[in-house]
Amino acid sequence: MLRQLRAALGVGVVTEPPAPASEIEALGVTLRGEIARLFGRSLHIRQVDAGSCNGCEIEISGLTGPHYDLERFGLHFVASPRHADCLLVTGPVTRNMAEALRRTWEATPDPKLVIAVGDCSRDGGIFAGSYAIAGGVADVIPVDAVILGCPPSPKALLAGLLDAMGRLRQ
């Protein structure tokens, strides 16, 4: 226990420093401003895997780690759609997940935001045309923004969230 604590204190903060040159920091700070305007400095995200290969999930979980540390911008991943302001949907929507995705959307209280993540979520990507696929996310629930990439990097995810905020404000 003591060794662990010594290691924790010895290593120090590995989150990107607040230098103005850091792109992540700039993106995050702008994003925080947008969230403040729309949701009052707090955005709770529910991630929904609608049939993804988990590539996007790995990038998304990178956001919560010490390097990107998304929580410092007031974003937080939650365990239930009832707690969420934003659904982050990954993957092409498989036939088996279409109904579940629709119900998740219904369970999320207004005002809410849906962001589709990854190339597959737009039109099915490389899985398009398969008998197992119901289509892109927009074929099942209304989508506010799409973050492209296969998979999108954490930086692209932050930029995409920012873009979605801007679009919602208009």
């Binding site: 924790a8 903060v13 590995v14 540390d69 410092r72 707690h83």
Partner: protein, 314 residues
């Protein structure tokens, strides 16, 4: 009489206002200990404000229990804050400071939350309720017993009396049995307020949840009240720990200046306890559910030894 009510109101207000900061500060410390920068300590206030403005989604199968529970929980915490020593040693109402009353106020909240978890018939809610009830049944005797150790030493069961007696005679507190009771109370605090190693307040994995599993179905202002009430419960347990075991800085007099002094002392003690909580939570892993009774049995044994020591070490 008016004076008494004002003091009770000031105490309830202080706990309600400080609770989100205690949670936010603990989160910030924990983030720092794992090398992150972490959210601002004021983040929980922003979360609460946003939740109060949001729509409420309620399952069509939910009954009045589900809707009433957030209000019951919040009311219970306000009453508890009014009657325990927070800003002054002896708050007003005649029944104030009765340990049994405070303990069962907390249990009333737990009871309603467990019912609400069952109410919507979601699988995770029921699982959370059954775990919560099992853990509070095991933690309850330890809370009572560890405070009894203090009560025996100071000759009164009244919480205000204990604080006054121990504050006046520090010799009574300089005793190994005092430390044992502190350990026992600290462990039940972790269990009762859903902290590691009993429950993980940051988990997203439904199968490991206890408190979170019961509130998965809440949204909007209901969720805000439930979250606020559980932050107040943590703050109240920390306040009890601070004021019963380190009863210094609590004013005997009932002037505004004395109460402001009491508030400063409380904030300092809460910050120290939040640091201790963050250190413990960063350095232990969550216990397997079937190991939790062993931990609680351990804390019960500490409390029992502490009570026995009152008769052995005079």
């Amino acid at each position: 009489m008016i004076h008494d009510l004002l003091i009770a109101a000031a105490q309830a207000l202080a706990i309600a206002a400080l609770a989100p900061l205690v949670v936010g500060f603990t989160r910030r410390l924990k983030a720092r200990l794992v090398g992150r920068r972490g959210p601002s300590p004021w983040q929980p206030y922003a979360d609460l404000r946003k939740l109060f403005a949001k729509e409420v989604v309620v399952s069509e199968n939910a009954s009045w229990v589900f809707r009433a529970t957030p209000y019951v929980l919040f009311a219970v915490m306000l009453v508890a804050a009014a009657v325990v020593p927070v800003l002054v040693a002896r708050p007003a109402p005649a029944f104030a400071g009765n340990l049994i009353l405070v303990m069962y106020l907390f249990l009333l909240g737990t009871f309603f939350l467990a019912l609400a978890g069952l109410d919507t018939a979601s699988a995770f809610g029921g699982m959370g309720s059954s775990r919560e009830v099992a853990i509070s049944a095991l933690a309850e005797p330890t809370v009572i017993l560890s405070v009894f150790a203090l009560a025996l030493r100071s000759g009164t069961i009244d919480l205000g009396g204990i604080v006054e007696r121990l504050g006046a005679e520090p010799r009574l507190a300089a005793n190994p049995a005092h430390l044992l009771a502190f350990g026992a109370f600290f462990i039940v605090m972790l269990a009762e307020t859903g902290r590691l190693p009993v429950d993980n307040p940051a988990t997203h994995l439904e199968l490991t949840m206890i408190h979170e599993a019961m509130v998965l179905e809440y949204s909007g202002r209901y969720l805000a009240l439930v979250e606020w009430a559980s932050a107040m419960k943590l703050t109240l347990f920390m306040t009890l720990l601070a004021n019963l075991f380190l009863p210094w800085g609590l004013p005997g007099g009932l002037t505004v200046a004395a109460m402001a002094g009491g508030l400063v002392a409380l904030v300092v003690k809460l910050a120290a306890l939040a640091l201790l909580l963050a250190l413990v939570e960063t350095s232990v892993a969550k216990l397997r559910l079937f190991r939790v009774p062993e931990l609680l049995a351990g804390s019960f044994a500490l409390a029992l030894l502490s009570v026995a020591a009152v008769f052995l070490v005079r």
